[in-house]
Amino acid sequence: MTAALTIDGLNVRFRLRDATVHAVTDLSLTLHRGELLAVVGESGCGKSVLAHAVLDLLPANAATTGTVQFGAGSRPVRELRGRHIGLIPQSPATALTPVRTGRSLLAETLRVHGRATTDADTVAAEAGLDPADLDRYPFQLSGGMAQRLATALAIAPDPAVLLADEPTAGLDRPLVDHTLDLLRRRCAAGTAVMLITHDLTAAQRVADTVAVMYASRIVEHRPADEFFTAPHHPYAAALLDSLPDRAFQPIPGHPPMLTDLPAGCAFAPRCPHASPDCAAQPAISDGAACHHPLSVVGAP
């Protein structure tokens, strides 16, 4: 398999007036061509910052270390953004230019990337948007329609890597399925897709691999079918157990503040398997960063 995206030792810190936010810590992963990776986790775990760090779109108060490499090349991200790396943004309502119609935005994108502007209808339809709605302005679109327009804009240049940041938020189930199928089809055509989502059901439906983020780190990264049947990290297991078609049990306690992370495992205060060992940061082994992975201690 060819690596489409390689992240190595990525750290992102935000400097605030009286605190430092540790948004992404020591994160390494490889995304292959045709792979659909779902990055899941609770809100505020650093998932979206990861996407923006990959795209080099972080605000000025962010300090980033580590490397992000696309394919085998070494061109800077800003030369690749758009054409080679597409982003489906989290809140399309704020990502669209309010004074231009969907058709005008989409036609510009197609033109800049050397495609016929008459393709607009086809691209919109592929994203699940009625071509007639392209003639509306963003404020005339519902949240779901704006989401589909943003999706159409991202896929128009046919990027090799597609980052989708909560692309199904605010959509009803048929549209969620449509969007997920679209991502899946992109993978079949060789695109590498990173799907950032809090929707575990969506991840289960389409992902090849799943990375679970907790408090700025990846705590588990394994093939999707193995992950959903037998998670190794206690946090991943607790997250799956909170699904309505499983135990529907919330995880006790709260996630830690990203301004005040412990030196050891950040999940230890909420973990039923915590021991003194957990005061030290666990390394990733066998797909999970845990001193007491569930495959060893036995699932609860």
Binding site: G41, S242, D245, F248
Partner: protein, 230 residues
């Protein structure tokens, strides 16, 4: 008859009729699920039931008593019997207020006593830590803000709680927590809950019966009974 009900309610926005003689009944202590495609009038129905929107025709009744008017024309003692949890906590919370003030607003509206104690109690119930109470919405996550909105919705111990896609944007753990808090409140106060969700697993797990919206035109008042209980 006890319960919160809409009777033959019609609502039109301009020339577009969103609800056409629609009826629904939510009994005390029951959780009624409502599902239907985007734009089918579910959210408008919630606004009518919450007494936020006066229907063009038909009326809402609480425990058999018809309600006339909407919003501030309705007596506070009647209005506060219904709580609402909206889909987007961002657009449902004043960005200038602290979370504590957001939770305290309905209590101040009725000049309740010992507001500070009650805010702390409500925040605890909704799973918010006290350090978050001084923050404004921009400094908390969606999940934390929705917990504050939940605390606000429960401030007057409502007899009816309307949840309009209220957990859609939440991660699985926060969703399970919000559902547990609402169910606990329901058990203690006999609250009737209206649950709007697109998530079949959540609907199956949470709702006592499910209504498909819009209801069949031939039989507008009858709900599709859903056999699955907890």
């Amino acid at each position: 008859m006890n319960g919160l009900a809409a009777h033959e309610v019609t609502v039109a926005y301009g020339r577009q009729t969103v609800l056409d003689r629609a009826s629904i009944h939510i009994g005390p202590g029951e959780t009624v699920g409502l599902r239907g495609p985007s734009g089918c009038g579910k959210s408008t129905l919630v606004r009518v039931l919450a007494l936020l929107h006066r229907p063009d025709d038909g009326h809402v009744s609480i425990d058999g008593n018809p309600v006339t008017g909407a919003r501030y024309r309705v007596a506070a003692a009647v209005r506060t019997r219904i709580g609402v949890l909206f889909q987007s906590p961002r657009s449902a919370a004043d960005p200038r207020l602290s979370l504590a003030d957001i939770i305290a607003e309905p209590l101040r509206a009725t000049k309740a006593e010992r507001i500070q104690d009650r805010v702390v109690e409500l925040a605890y119930t909704a799973g918010l830590t006290t350090d978050l109470l001084r923050r404004q919405p921009h400094a908390v996550s969606d999940g934390q803000l929705q917990r504050a909105c939940l605390a606000r919705a429960l401030a007057h111990r409502p007899d009816y709680l309307l949840c309009d896609e209220a957990t859609t944007m939440l991660d699985a753990s926060t969703q399970a927590h919000v559902a547990a808090v609402i169910t606990d409140h329901q058990h203690r106060h006999g609250t009737g809950v209206l649950l709007i969700t697109h998530d079949p697993a959540l609907m199956h797990r949470w709702a006592h019966r499910v209504i498909d919206w819009p209801p069949d035109q031939a039989a507008p008042a009858t709900a599709v009974e859903h056999a699955d209980h907890h």
